[in-house]
Structures are given as structure tokens and as C-alpha cells.
Chain length 124, copies 2
């Protein structure tokens, strides 16, 4: 790429072609493994559905059983249960059984934090 020598342009070169390569290489070394970034995307994908977000938000402060959620959000029991399964497998919610009902709640503070951060961004 560099035509000829041009030592007097060295600093400028650093900022353009050659410096770019260095930066790209540096960042390449800093990137987490593909697998981790894939998992990260999968996690956000779970948050990226309005039904699931509604379900998660409904549990922001309380635990709720499947039927509660279905009534609250006007959804079919099947739909809620399917979504809860996805939320469960991503460790976004935990649950406990009490008689015939199963009560779901947010799994930990990360979940609350992620939702809150997203909210702040959206409400700007």
C-alpha cells in the first residue's frame, strides 16, 4: 500500500493504513470468543420479544403463576407457558410449585438491571 518510502509521513501513516491494521489487530485480541458472543446474542434475543418482555416486566416486583400472567396480559395459557419455558432455559426466571399452581419470578438482579437499562435507553 505504501508507495515508496516517505519517512516524513510516518506519523500520518500510523493514523491511516498501518495504524488501522494495528488497531484492528489489537481489537481482534480483545474480542471474547465467538461462543460467548453467540450466547450473549441468544440472551438478548430472549428479551427481544414483546410478549416475553411483558411477562418479565409483570414479574418485576412480584411472583406470578401462569394463570395470573395469562389473565393479566390477555394471552393464552399455552403461549404463556411456551414463553416461560424459554425464559426458564435462559435462566431469566425461577419458579416454585405450590399445589396446582407454579409461581414464577425473575431469577436475579441482572435480569432487573438489564430491563432497567433498556428502559432508560428507550425512554430518552
Amino acid at each position: 500500500m505504501a508507495t515508496g518510502r516517505g519517512d516524513e509521513l510516518k506519523s500520518i501513516q500510523d493514523e491511516t493504513s498501518k495504524g488501522r491494521e494495528d488497531i484492528v489487530e489489537k481489537i481482534f485480541g480483545q474480542q471474547p470468543d465467538d461462543e460467548i458472543l453467540y450466547d450473549l446474542a441468544e440472551l438478548f434475543k430472549v428479551f427481544g420479544d414483546s410478549t416475553r418482555i411483558k411477562i418479565l416486566y409483570s414479574m418485576f416486583e412480584n411472583e406470578l403463576c401462569v394463570n395470573d400472567i395469562a389473565k393479566l396480559l390477555n394471552l393464552s395459557q399455552s403461549s404463556v407457558s411456551h414463553q416461560l419455558r424459554i425464559l426458564k432455559s435462559s435462566k431469566l426466571v425461577k419458579f416454585r410449585r405450590d399445589g396446582k399452581s407454579v409461581y414464577y419470578s425473575l431469577d436475579d438482579e441482572h435480569v432487573r438491571a438489564i430491563i432497567s437499562m433498556g428502559m432508560e435507553h428507550v425512554e430518552e
Copy 2:
């Protein structure tokens, strides 16, 4: 639902059917507007693609031009540009033009925070 009177079961009733309704109603009042939760889901949907996450992560500490990103992540220029357009419209990245190149960077701290929170959850 309540068969007969059974005043002595009042507190228990509160914990079951009638109490449930109250809780559901309370939460119903606390839920943000559907529109906001829809936007929130749309936001997370943008994070929910491994290519976009890789792109975002590559800009975690540095600004990068389209070509840098394409080389770094071994993606086509077209693909990167398409994804950057989505990231732009969600206000997750900002950009500046410098000659022929366009340099992109994360838009604000919310973006970094959301990614970090997600990372913590994934790395558990």
C-alpha cells in the same frame, strides 16, 4: 367461586382466589404502556443477533470504520453496512465521516452497560 359463607376462611381466601385478583389488578396498573414495552423489546431485538453483538463489542473501546469491522469480523462490507444501519436507527451507535471512511462508535454508556450486564449473566 366461594361456596357458602365460610367467614373463618377469609384470610385463606385472600391468599388464594380473591387475593390473586387483587395482585393481578395491582400489577396491571403498574405495567408500562404496551408501546413502551414494545419499544423495549425492539431494542433488545437489535442486541439479539450475533453479528450485531460482535460489531457492538468491537466498538466497546474504540471507534472503527466499516472496513475495519468487516476485516476484523470477517464479514462482507454489505453485511456490516446493513447491520450498522440498524444499530444507527436504534441509537446504539454514532458515527462521523472522515474523508472516504465513516467511523462508528457506541452511542452512550447505556449501550456499554447493557452489554456488560448481559456478559455477566452469560459468564455465570
